[in-house]
């Protein structure tokens, strides 16, 4: 157990615990706030894994944008602020069984497959290979270079998808579009 192991284990416990609270709490607003804790801990996990650009994007987009959007949704649907019953539907026990089965299957397979595999990151580069060390970290410089060189076509397609989602959300939420009665 190195220091990295300990830090990652703590962050992982926080992320999973906050995730469990998101799906079990009885207060809608608390669920959104626990989601912030879970995503923040995951950003810390990315930092420990040396993927710093992804960590900052996670903080910016998930904690900054997605959770705020979800809070807007909670407000606009006039959800009860206090603890409310009936947030869980009737198939709760079936859902618990399916989730426990999924967890058991995935954890068993992953632990059997990667039990003794150590993370093979830039610290394990040979000491004379400077290019290995430089290419293995996820800083904004290297990630930006690979986004705009190798992956530039999917990047542009993704921008078109974002535009389509924007137009779709506006069309869905506008109330002044003409209906059949107005014609």
């Amino acid at each position: 157990m190195t220091g990295r192991d300990v830090v990652f284990a703590l962050l992982g416990v926080v992320a999973v615990g906050a995730g469990l609270l998101v799906v079990t709490t009885r207060q809608l607003v608390h669920a959104a706030l626990w989601l912030v804790v879970s995503f923040g801990a995951l950003a810390g996990c990315y930092l420990v894994l040396t993927a710093e650009f992804v960590a900052w994007v996670q903080v910016l987009i998930y904690v900054g944008a997605v959770v705020v959007l979800l809070l807007f949704g909670i407000m606009l649907t006039r959800a009860p602020v206090g603890p409310s019953e009936g947030l869980d539907s009737g198939n709760r026990w079936a859902a618990l069984a399916v989730a426990a089965g999924t967890a058991a299957l995935l954890v068993t397979v992953l632990v059997m497959g990667f039990r003794w595999t150590r993370l093979n990151d830039a610290r394990h580069c040979p000491p004379d290979a400077s290019s290995c060390t430089a290419q293995a970290n996820g800083s904004a410089e290297h990630l930006g270079a690979s986004v705009f060189r190798t992956w530039v076509l999917p990047f542009e397609v993704l921008s078109v998808l974002l535009l389509a989602a924007l137009v779709g959300a506006i069309v869905l939420s506008r109330t002044d579009l003409p209906t059949r009665k107005d014609r």
Binding site: T2, R4, F8, G12, A15, V16, G19, V22, V23, L28, L35, S38, L42, C45, Y46, T50, A51, V54, Q58, V66, L69, L70, G73, I74, L76, T77, G86, D88, S89, N91, A94, A95, L96, A99, A100, T102, A103, L106, F114, T117, R118, N120, D121, C125, Q135, G138, L143, S146, V147, W151, L161, L162, A165, A169, L172, S173, T175, T179, R180, K181
Partner: protein, 126 residues
């Protein structure tokens, strides 16, 4: 550091998301659980990208793309949820049964639901 740490964390987070999607009734909580599942997949992608020392950073770039798609999904999903709320005054996913196949025993509660005029008309306009 062992590779098993991020993988087990991601598996547990994914299971929490599965439980939330199946057990929650409020549509916004279902969307939150979907976000949890997407984040679990992102953690796997980053862990394997770092482990394999990918020169092209395919895993981390795909993680960025997943984050963007998740943001678009949440935007559209919330727009749909708000439209449902405007028409039905509730967003409980197990009570929105007007598209369900009407079973002979359970057809009464489906019929007693309020009709949905504006969405149908909007579809007809398109």
């Amino acid at each position: 550091m062992h590779l098993a740490f991020p993988l087990v964390t991601a598996a547990l987070l994914f299971s929490a998301g599965v439980y939330g999607v199946l057990a929650r009734r409020n549509a916004i909580l279902v969307l939150m659980s979907v976000e949890l599942m997407l984040n679990a997949v992102n953690l796997n992608l980053v862990a394997f990208d770092v482990h394999l020392r990918d020169r092209l950073h395919g895993g981390q770039v795909l993680t960025l793309f997943t984050i963007v798609i998740a943001a678009a999904e949440v935007g559209l999903g919330l727009a749909i949820v708000l439209l449902v709320f405007r028409n039905r005054r509730m967003i409980d996913v197990d009570r929105l049964r007007s598209l369900a196949e009407s079973e002979p025993a359970k057809s009464e509660p489906a019929k007693s639901e309020p009709a949905e005029p504006s969405t149908a008309e909007r579809e007809a306009v398109k």
